[in-house]
Symmetry: C2
Subunit: 309 residues, 2 copies
Amino acid sequence: MFPDSSRRDRWVAYIHDLQDEICAAVEETDGLARFREDRWQRAEGTGGGGKTRVIAGGKVFEKGGVNTSVVFGAVTDTMRKALHMEGHTWFACGLSLVLHPLNPFVPTVHANWRYFEIYTEDGQLSDSWFGGGCDLTPYYLFEEDARHFHRMLKAAMDSFGAGLYAQYKKECDRYFVNKHRGDECRGIGGVFYEHLRPADDADWERLFAFQQANGNQFIPAYIPIAAKRKDTAWLPEHKYWQEIRRGRYVEFNLVHDRGTLFGLKTDGRTESILMSLPPTVRFEYDHRPAPGSPEEQLLTVCRHPVDWV
Amino acid sequence: MFPDSSRRDRWVAYIHDLQDEICAAVEETDGLARFREDRWQRAEGTGGGGKTRVIAGGKVFEKGGVNTSVVFGAVTDTMRKALHMEGHTWFACGLSLVLHPLNPFVPTVHANWRYFEIYTEDGQLSDSWFGGGCDLTPYYLFEEDARHFHRMLKAAMDSFGAGLYAQYKKECDRYFVNKHRGDECRGIGGVFYEHLRPADDADWERLFAFQQANGNQFIPAYIPIAAKRKDTAWLPEHKYWQEIRRGRYVEFNLVHDRGTLFGLKTDGRTESILMSLPPTVRFEYDHRPAPGSPEEQLLTVCRHPVDWV
């Protein structure tokens, strides 16, 4: 069906290795819960499938998923219209993860690394690109955690270009925004990039290495934060605030997130896409944290993104 | 700014009276909580405002809102694109309500009755229409409640045309659907209609009377069901299921609902729009009720709409 598969095969192999590594690190941090794996195939007329790995009811992670998918198909009218896609057929492979901790002092984390190929009607590769990102959504702000997370993301990028982190940090701050909430960011950001198109073979190798550097940095960027905060004592009022903020997470993912839209519009597997939604959520009319409270402090950095490095 | 206001004034007066009546009936049924009213004005450059009335923490109603708004403005590019609106300026007035009961055996209810006018650049009325609807979202199915609710909605419509209920019942079943969940309806439906355009003055009077008949039927259609089920004993497992189904309510409202979209795209008041979201919600990966359980029975009627009359 498609031309030379060597690029795709290498990316798929990397993504599956990374899935194994991240799941192992998450299970070790949790110390109780184990991932459950669901392998799925897309419906007839479409192609590919995925490995959805979900964790729930852990000591550290209340709910989470570390999913991979390798999918392909025809570019449909819906995709042309809703996603502005061109071409005849497409291939996409990526890893997408969200971890929702039980403890309100441990931040939620999201990451995604993906690779697309687009083909003409006669099966020629007409376009390809990498995309990715990783961002943190704390419920209470620990500045040292925010700095650690951003510094680690920056370190992974620096050898590929001095300005990359600054650029992709800004794109992240622009992307994960609840516009209907007065431009309130979902959390304290991270990095986000899309449409990194290889100019030639050497450039593809460079971008593949860039993706691996970012993907491999997830564990050292996030896991130490979870490990450090997981035993912090919390009260019902902290859980309450966590659930209010999780409501904003739901709003972003269902109203604004292009990844969710892509999945739902391409007849993706709904359960795998919506594993990103938090386990318990609270929607309260016009909730406002008390002036000067730690809750308001978090809101302030969501409304006014900070340069953490 | 706009031509003859007598139609608008009569509709606005009706909607405000209905808001008072419904709020009084809801408070009486609850027996504890009272509505809190927030009057708001739209930001500069736009016009109008609303009366948001929210109830929370009641004996019967865990969260709810009975909101009215009277808003107008210029048709923006966003509205042309996202909402396929035409014309130069618009006026909209409606009542929108959602009640989320505490007890999982009491159904959630939603209703909305609205009137739009569209004007040309020189201030001439170029289009106007009524829309409305009322639908029930139970967590456990009581067939007698479903029949009562639908019979009452039908009774309000029958004198305006023998086939209207059947037609608008079908439109409701088509509208409140989570397409991404394999065409699962949000609940057991009700009625839904849009773009009822008056042909002339007499027709406007007829449609206004139709709207009033439907609006006035809300209290006898819903309140007796809430009163009958509010003291039913429930267990944590019933609450759990209610919160899972509330998750589907969130998914519909944020992914599919045109009313929510209209509000968010026209810079509506976010807190008033999103008061529709349930107070506590649960998202669980791949939740499936046990075969033959009451939970599965509910799912069956959501997947295969029933003719309740």
